[in-house]
Structures are given as structure tokens and as C-alpha cells.
């Protein structure tokens, strides 16, 4: 596609009590050199009306940060970020605009955690899931139980979390920059058994910006958006197995085949809201044996993933795109991929809808 990521910036995922939606958006765009000269803004954000009583956040952001260019806000649950990137890419590929800034921004710490949990649960079907006592960790727990019954060891999921925390230690913008061990899981708070807090993403406020341009950067430090693809899954209750993440698996199989990519080698950010999901996906794709060894994966969630970098819902996809861009063109947490391609994977709920972005150096 005639669309390139030429730059961007991120704010540390954290409890930013002192910064609101507009402050975070201002902070991240001020620090982004390429953001100074854009002709369209897409804001990716999921919770502004629930957590900040604000509709039309896009307009209020451009007025506040002084970018008097067209703006639209995109919300597609947890996959909002990649939806925004796709729309930005089409705006420049169509020839209508030259440089689109995509800003992901989210406040999740405005209210007590149980309220943030409630807001997050509304990504599920309110009428037929939430009202019946189903919340995101319930599906992640039931899927984990299925996988355990089919032979996956509980340790397997812990491996994922341990690796994510390890990765995050050297990533400046990651939220949880400390290591954990298998021991940590022993006393971990249970969310929905057997799923614990250590199997869950970290909730933090955040803002990330990238600039999508119709032309590559002159210095070669840009990546092309080669493909953006989406699949709709079945509601989890309508599947034969809750752990069948068919949309994600189909997408990743398709792009790895088409571009001849090995997930052990390329820069990839997988959507790991709960440890269950990346393990289920890598297993379906044939990357997992019973040992669930992750050592061979060189650039797998270099950021620490949703698990340890954190999951500022509507901003997460923009963080992921920025991170793969950095790993491919510069470095992130001291790592630089030599591979040509990079992948970003995002998922709404338990694979209700999934998106994949293919980036090329």
C-alpha cells in the first residue's frame, strides 16, 4: 500500500492521575517530531464517554492541541488502534491526504478498578454476556481450562507472563518493569479460576502517536504498511471450544504463509490480554510443543505486551504499531530485528474480531 509509518512517540503506560485525555494527547504529540506537519488526525479511544463524560473527543483534542486539521475518532473495542491505522493508511493511499497522525489515548484510572473492570467488560455483548455474569476473564479462564484439559500445562501460561515481564524491564514506556517467576503465581490473586492477576494485562493510562505518510521517510527510517486484514469471529458462547480463536489464527496463518514469515524470527506484537490467548494462538499455528518454550522467539512482544507494557485499551494498537516500527527501524529495549517484516495482532474481546497489520522495512 502507498502508506508508510514515518515516526511517532509514546507516553509511559502508567497511572497518570495528573493528565487527562487532552493532556495525554498533547504530551505525546509534542514529543513527536513528525507530528508537527500533518493534515488529518485519527483518534483511537474507547472510554472517553464512560470515564471522562466526553463525546466528540477528536474535535476537543484538535482544538486543545492546536492542530486545525480534519479529525475523526475510531472506536472498535480492543482492536480500535489497528482499525485507526487501517483507516489512516487508506486516507493517504487514496491520495486525499498526505500525512495522517493516529493518536491512541486512554484513561482507565479515573475510577476505582472495579469500575474500570466494568467499563472493560462492556466490550463483550452487554445484553447476552455481561447481564449474565460473563466478563472477559471468565472466557479467558474457561478457555484456559479447555487447553489444560487438552494437555497444556498450567506452567505454559505462566511462561508467557514471565517472558513478558522480562521483556518489559528494558522498555522505557512499559508499565510493569519487574521480573516475575513461577513462584509468583502461587499466591497470585485469582480473577476467575484458574486465571490469576498474573495472567492478565496491566491496566494503565496511555497515549501513543504514529504518523502515516503517503511517502517513505527520506532517511530510510520508515516502514511500509503492506497489509491490514480483519476477520470476524463467532461469539465465544457459540463456538465448539471457547479457545478456538479462529479469526486470529486464520489471519496469522494467511499472512505468515503469504509473506513466508516465521513468528520465531520476525518482529511481532501479539494481543495478550490474558496469557490464555497467545498460547492458544501459537498452539493452533503449530509453534507450541508441550514444553511451551518461548526462548526461540526472538522478537515476540519485545514491548512486554499487554501483559507488562500495559493495555490502555484504545491506545494499545498504536503502541504496538509504534513498537514494531521501532524494532524494525531503530531499536526497542535494546533489541533490533534484522527481519524485513513485522506483524501487529489485535483482538476485540475473546476473538470477536481480530486484525493483523503487516509492516515492511
Amino acid at each position: 500500500m502507498r502508506a508508510h509509518i514515518i515516526g511517532g512517540s509514546v507516553v509511559k503506560v502508567d497511572r497518570h492521575f495528573e493528565l487527562g485525555y487532552r493532556d495525554l494527547a498533547y504530551k505525546v504529540t509534542k514529543d513527536c517530531l513528525e507530528c508537527s506537519d500533518v493534515d488529518y488526525v485519527i483518534v483511537s479511544s474507547v472510554l472517553p464517554e464512560l470515564s471522562a463524560h466526553q463525546l466528540d473527543l477528536g474535535t476537543h483534542i484538535v482544538q486543545w492541541i492546536g492542530k486545525k486539521v480534519p479529525v475523526a475518532r475510531v472506536e472498535s473495542g480492543e482492536s480500535s488502534g489497528l482499525a485507526a491505522v487501517e483507516l489512516a493508511a487508506s486516507l493517504v493511499a487514496s491520495g486525499a491526504y498526505k500525512r495522517v497522525m493516529v493518536v491512541g489515548v486512554e484513561k482507565v484510572t479515573e475510577y476505582p478498578t472495579y469500575t474500570a473492570n466494568y467499563f472493560y467488560s462492556l466490550t463483550l455483548d452487554y445484553e447476552y454476556e455481561v447481564l449474565r455474569g460473563v466478563s472477559p476473564p471468565v472466557y479467558a479462564a474457561l478457555a484456559m481450562k479447555e487447553l489444560i484439559k487438552s494437555g497444556v500445562r498450567r506452567d505454559c501460561f505462566s511462561n508467557w507472563a514471565i517472558r513478558m515481564h522480562e521483556n518489559a524491564v528494558s522498555v522505557p514506556h512499559a508499565m510493569l518493569k519487574f521480573k516475575i517467576t513461577h513462584e509468583s503465581f502461587k499466591d497470585a490473586q485469582v480473577l476467575s479460576d484458574p486465571l490469576t492477576l498474573y495472567d492478565s494485562f496491566a491496566f494503565g493510562d496511555g497515549a501513543a502517536a504514529i504518523v502515516v505518510s503517503s511517502t517513505p521517510d527520506r532517511n530510510g527510517s520508515s516502514v511500509e504498511i503492506v497489509l491490514s486484514k480483519t476477520e470476524v469471529g463467532l461469539p465465544a458462547y457459540a463456538r465448539d471450544n471457547i479457545s478456538d480463536l479462529t479469526a486470529s489464527t486464520k489471519l496469522l496463518k494467511e499472512v505468515t504463509n503469504r509473506f513466508e514469515l516465521d513468528l520465531r524470527k520476525v518482529a511481532v506484537e501479539l494481543h495478550d490480554s490474558y496469557t490464555t490467548y497467545p498460547i492458544a494462538i501459537l498452539r493452533s499455528l503449530g509453534y507450541m510443543d508441550d514444553r511451551c518454550d518461548l526462548d526461540e522467539f526472538e522478537f515476540l512482544n519485545t514491548s512486554g505486551g499487554l501483559k507488562a507494557r500495559g493495555h490502555p485499551i484504545g491506545a494499545t494498537g498504536i503502541y504496538q504499531a509504534y513498537e514494531v516500527f521501532k524494532v524494525l527501524t531503530d531499536s526497542l529495549g535494546g533489541k533490533r530485528a534484522l527481519s524485513e517484516y513485522g506483524l501487529v495482532h489485535s483482538m476485540s474481546g475473546p476473538d470477536n474480531l481480530s486484525r493483523v497489520l503487516v509492516l515492511k522495512r
Binding site: L131, G133, V138, L142, E146, Q189, S192, Y237, A238
Partner: protein
């Protein structure tokens, strides 16, 4: 969060009963009365009401605290295979959490879902309880 009366009223058939959508095209059954088969996209669908009897295939004890669940944690939420062959997710009630086992027979019962605190409407819907077998 206040519930809207019209919203609940509209979906009450699916909350008070276990309606199954049966596809006239691909033959698959899916939970809830819905206009289109989610498996094949056909709108050639018919509806069957479940007897409400089934087997508990799996369950989880939920400690995840949300606005709407504050008072009743831990909750038991399970996957039930109804006798009509279709699966449904629901809360399991009427059993001590340490006594619940997989593969027990369960039946649908009407229980409270939510109420509009402190003076509001109370919304009821289907949950499941183990059937006692002596």
C-alpha cells in the same frame, strides 16, 4: 450504571427463556433468538425453546470485581450443554462452590440479574442450578 427499562424489556424473551436459533441453511443451532445464523449468515432461521435441562461441561469461580457484581463474589459461571445439543453460558446457583462438579445435570431457573440501586427496577433472567439426584 442505571439500566434502561426499554433495553431490558426488548430482550426479555431471551432472558426469561432459552430460545435456540436453528438454521434452515446449514442446520446449526445457536443460542438466543437472532435474525441471522452466525455460522453461515442465512436468515432462513427457526426458533426452538429449550426444555432448560442440560449438563455442566465446565465452570469457573469468578472473583473479578465489576460494578455490577460487587455483592455476590465469588460467582460460579459455567458452560452448559443443553439437551437440545446447543451450549449456553450462565451463572450456576443453588450449590456450594466447593461442592460443584463438572458433568452434573443442571436445569434453568429464573433468578435476579441486576437491580437499579437503590430504588430501581429488578431484572430477572435465566440461571442454572444442579438437579439433585438421589
Amino acid at each position: 450504571m442505571k439500566l434502561s427499562v426499554p433495553q431490558f424489556w426488548r430482550v426479555k424473551e431471551n432472558q426469561y427463556k432459552l430460545i435456540i436459533t436453528v438454521c434452515g441453511e446449514c442446520g446449526r443451532k445457536t443460542m438466543f433468538k437472532r435474525p441471522v445464523c452466525p455460522h453461515c449468515g442465512s436468515s432462513k432461521v427457526e426458533y426452538v425453546e429449550s426444555t432448560g435441562v442440560g449438563v455442566l461441561e465446565s465452570f469457573t469461580k469468578v472473583y473479578y470485581k465489576t460494578n455490577s457484581s460487587e455483592d455476590r463474589l465469588p460467582e460460579l459461571v459455567g458452560v452448559i450443554r443443553l439437551s437440545e445439543g446447543v451450549r449456553v453460558i450462565g451463572e450456576i446457583v443453588g450449590v456450594r462452590e466447593d461442592e460443584l462438579r463438572e458433568d452434573v445435570k443442571v436445569e434453568a431457573v429464573l433468578r435476579r440479574y441486576l437491580s437499579d440501586d437503590p430504588y430501581g427496577v429488578i431484572y430477572y433472567g435465566i440461571k442454572f442450578k444442579p438437579v439433585l439426584t438421589h
